[in-house]
């Protein structure tokens, strides 16, 4: 490798940035997590962690589901896109990014009015007579028509499903982008070689394209999973505040109803650890090509 004349100089802004905005806050989080209000050392913040297992479990499982859905939707889009003309790809990418130009909160508020019981979707279903149809069928199928309770709306808002939807909607572009950029860069000659050696398109995809796109998948998964785990406000707006996620729990300790930055830091710290473990396991799997082919 050629030696850069400037040495490490170009990296200085980045290092300073990281030091101020990543390292210092991290040190503070660790400091807070191990102290109590009086400033003395304590492990009490961690001993309470057991009571939040449910929140941890809920956050990680909902984020995992959201990540899986993003992958299922995002990969095919990225793959199909990469076969289109560069012009088409540019326009499509812009369209995919377009929603991101609108504030996250506004987009989530919009989903609220779409999903509500009296919201856009339910009103639409009602207007096209979907509920009448369902009730008509239900009434005829019911063993005891007298007891049949007609439905007036689908219960969409204030459910875990709505929270997952919010995550998928907000983070999908982060799945598509890295996968797409990896797939477009795959050397065409690889595909030609595969075909020369008699591989049909299915085999080419399975043995060549997919394994080569794995780095993109991995970074996509990371970019969706990590913000999903730590997201807040989504569960408050779409989950009705009754399905609390880690982000909300932490926010509550700093900005919300229960002021306790020490507990908040402890939870953040544990969350970071669990996320890091998850990520390292993932990366480990990503290393072996065999595993990928098995997928």
């Amino acid at each position: 490798m050629k030696k850069n004349k400037l040495g490490v100089l170009p990296a200085v802004p980045y290092i300073v940035w990281m030091a101020i905005f990543v390292v210092v806050p991290l040190i503070l989080v660790v400091f807070y997590a191990f102290t109590n209000e009086a400033g003395g050392f304590t492990l009490a913040n961690f001993s309470q962690m057991g009571s939040y297992t449910k929140v941890f479990a809920r956050s990680f499982s909902l984020s995992a589901v959201a990540t899986a859905i993003c992958l299922l939707i995002g990969y095919p889009i990225a793959y199909v896109l990469s076969k289109e003309t560069p012009m088409f790809q540019r326009v499509a990418m812009m369209l995919i990014m377009l929603p991101m130009w609108i504030n996250f909160l506004l987009r989530t508020y919009a989903w609220m009015s779409i999903l509500e019981n009296t919201g856009l979707l339910n009103t639409l279903f009602d207007k096209i007579g979907l509920f009448d149809l369902i009730n008509w069928i239900g009434l005829h199928l019911a063993s005891d028509p007298g007891k049949y309770v007609p439905i007036e709306h689908f219960n969409m808002i204030n459910t875990q499903g709505a929270v997952v939807l919010g995550m998928v909607y907000n983070y999908l572009p982060f799945m598509i982008m890295p996968i797409h950029s990896v797939i477009v860069k795959i050397d065409r000659s690889m595909l030609e070689a595969a075909r020369d050696l008699g591989a049909d398109s299915k085999t080419t995809f399975r043995k060549v394209i997919f394994p080569l796109s794995l780095p993109g998948v991995l970074s996509g998964v990371t970019m969706v999973f990590v913000p999903s785990v730590s997201t807040f406000i989504l569960s408050r707006l779409l989950g009705g505040g009754t399905t609390m996620l880690l982000g909300d729990l932490i926010e509550m300790q700093f900005m919300g109803g229960a002021y306790n930055p020490h507990l908040g830091s402890a939870i953040s710290l544990i969350m970071m650890l669990v996320v890091m473990v998850c990520m390292s396991i993932m990366n480990h799997f990503g290393d072996g090509e065999d595993t990928a082919v098995m997928l």
Binding site: I20, T242, F254, A258
Partner: protein, 346 residues
């Protein structure tokens, strides 16, 4: 050491925000931090016109959020508008600056019955801005009985239709009123009982809300919700099916007052702003927008008979006698509140 650390983080993380607030250097400013939907924002222009002081305005959702934000430090608000119990907590924790009442001559316009209250007996730290009661707002087309009791908030009949406060003090209060206990109780077993009731309620709740309640009740998305009287009026303007009731078990009577947090950079401007807010016509304009009753005697005198006899805005003496003011709770009880709240929400 710790203080510096705190200051450093907040400073860093809010760097952007702060530069945003700084703006033009020669321009006099006052940074106001208020409840959401709690002011007629057009008065800021009038204030700037009169005094040349520009108003930077931000809102918070609950007293607890305001407390957290101030406690973390690094913010530069000059005027805040907490409620009674939070004011006494802030006074106790030395978070408020004494207001120089010489600079607030309009204090004389405030009805004395709202002055020298329990939370600020010497009237040194606060100037009343609004007052009101908490009650149940319900959609008369979605319930089949007149609502008179807090019990309806815990009634399975309305499962999925109920909205509960998203802050610990008000939420626990609904349970404490239902159980017939004082909202200022420090008795652990009573609080535990109230907490258990809230845990049960969680299954039949539609959601925990603060200002999201406006949309949900106005659109008929929910049938019943507990909230503040002033906001009830705003909602009733939009959806005439909505009704407000102060439950028979009693309710919370509150005064929100303007205060100056410790270390405010523009204290003189803050006092000018507070004084301006007590001008009679400003009180009336604010009242018109927020729906909250003004404590100004002069403004009250200007109101027409219809407004004065509005029971939501100015509840009768009998109703008020049945109401209880929140007072600040001892640290142990506050910690219990925090624990309960975190447990309930998780």
């Amino acid at each position: 050491m710790k203080k510096t650390l705190v200051f450093l983080t907040v400073l860093l993380s809010c760097a952007l925000l702060l530069t945003g607030c700084g703006g033009n250097d020669d321009q006099e400013v006052v940074n106001v931090y208020n409840w959401g939907e709690n002011i007629d924002e057009s008065i800021f222009d009038d204030f700037e016109e009169q005094t040349g002081i520009k108003v930077n305005y931000k809102v918070y959702e609950s007293n607890e959020q305001l407390y957290s934000v101030l406690k973390q430090g690094g913010v530069n608000y000059d005027v805040i508008i907490p409620s009674d119990y939070m004011i006494s907590r802030m006074i106790e924790e030395d978070m408020l600056e004494k207001i120089d009442m010489k600079n607030v001559p309009n204090l004389s316009k405030i009805d004395p019955q709202y002055l020298n209250a329990e939370f600020d007996p010497a009237q040194e730290y606060s100037v009343p801005y609004t007052w009101g009661v908490v009650g149940i707002i319900y959609n008369s087309t979605m319930v089949d009985e007149p609502i008179t009791s807090w019990k309806v908030m815990f009634d399975e009949k309305y499962a999925g239709q109920i909205l509960q406060f998203d802050n610990s003090r008000d939420a626990l209060a609904t349970a404490l009123f239902t159980l017939g206990y004082s909202v200022n109780t420090t008795d652990e077993s009573q609080l535990q009982e109230a907490f258990d009731l809230l845990v049960e309620q969680k299954d039949i709740l539609q959601s925990y809300v603060m200002d999201q309640i406006f949309d949900k009740l106005e659109s008929g998305e929910a049938a019943i919700g507990a909230y503040y009287a002033g906001d009830a009026l705003t909602m009733m303007d939009i959806n005439p099916d909505l009704r407000f009731c102060v439950p028979e078990e009693g309710s919370n009577f509150f005064i929100d007052a303007m205060c100056i947090p410790k270390g405010a950079a523009n204290k003189a401007n803050a006092e000018a702003f507070i004084n301006f807010m007590c001008e009679t016509d400003i009180c009336l304009r604010n009242m018109d927008v927020t729906g909250y009753a003004t404590p100004s005697a002069e403004a009250y005198a200007e109101l027409d008979e219809e407004t004065r006899s509005n029971e939501v805005l100015f509840p009768s003496k009998e109703v008020l006698r049945n109401c209880e003011t929140y007072i600040n709770l001892p640290t142990e009880t506050l910690e219990l509140y925090n624990q309960f709240w975190t447990k309930l929400k998780s």
